[in-house]
Amino acid sequence: MNKTQKTAWVSLAMTVLLIAFSIRWIIMAFTATVIPKSTLLLWLSLFGAIAALGFILFRKKQSPAEVDFDERDKLIKRKAVQISYISLWVLLIAASLVASTIVGDAELIPVSALPPVLFLIFLIVTLVWSVAILVQYGRGCKDGEK
């Protein structure tokens, strides 16, 4: 597994966790409840643990001579960025339509719901980026003999 794949896995784990947190945050915004401090601390701890794990375990090269990033990695990253950019547009359009369809044109949405919704969109775009990278690497053949 190269550095790009490892980054994608860590990013995937963090975004899944944060998406779960954001959905709860949105629900709380609509129900006008406050996130308990203990819950907030738990989420932050989980997030920090994954980030620290990624930083510590995946930052160091396996060997000094190991190539971190080559032309194929660049191509895969570029395609992943393109796919995530398209997903951003889809999400923005969907969010606009969903809000209008579910809530209705005459209803109101609390302002406090806007930050978690925007954060959720950002997280989903990041999730799409991670999945696109892992799928593209997965399409290659399995590791052959050394």
Partner: protein
């Protein structure tokens, strides 16, 4: 075989002899070839399996690693369909 296709054109495939050349060059490993070409081992694996078509620069680097002309490493085939 790495494929390049576009609508209305014949299927183009690029074959390579990397695996054979590795064995002919003192059982060179994929990692050794990757180090010589300046890429990751995964890229060499993908090229050997025909899942990835290398850039011209990389193709020349691989040929140089085997000390053979590039035509002995990569062959272009155009299939009529």
């Amino acid at each position: 075989m790495a494929k390049n296709e576009s609508s209305g054109e014949r299927s183009q495939t690029i074959k390579n002899q990397i695996r054979r050349l590795r064995f002919d060059n003192g059982q060179m490993t994929q990692q050794q070839l990757a180090d010589a070409a300046g890429v990751t081992r995964q890229t060499i694996i993908a090229i050997e399996a025909g899942k990835y078509a290398p850039s011209l620069t990389l193709a020349f680097k691989i040929a140089k690693a085997f000390d053979v002309p590039i035509g002995q490493v990569f062959q272009y085939q155009q299939d009529s369909s």
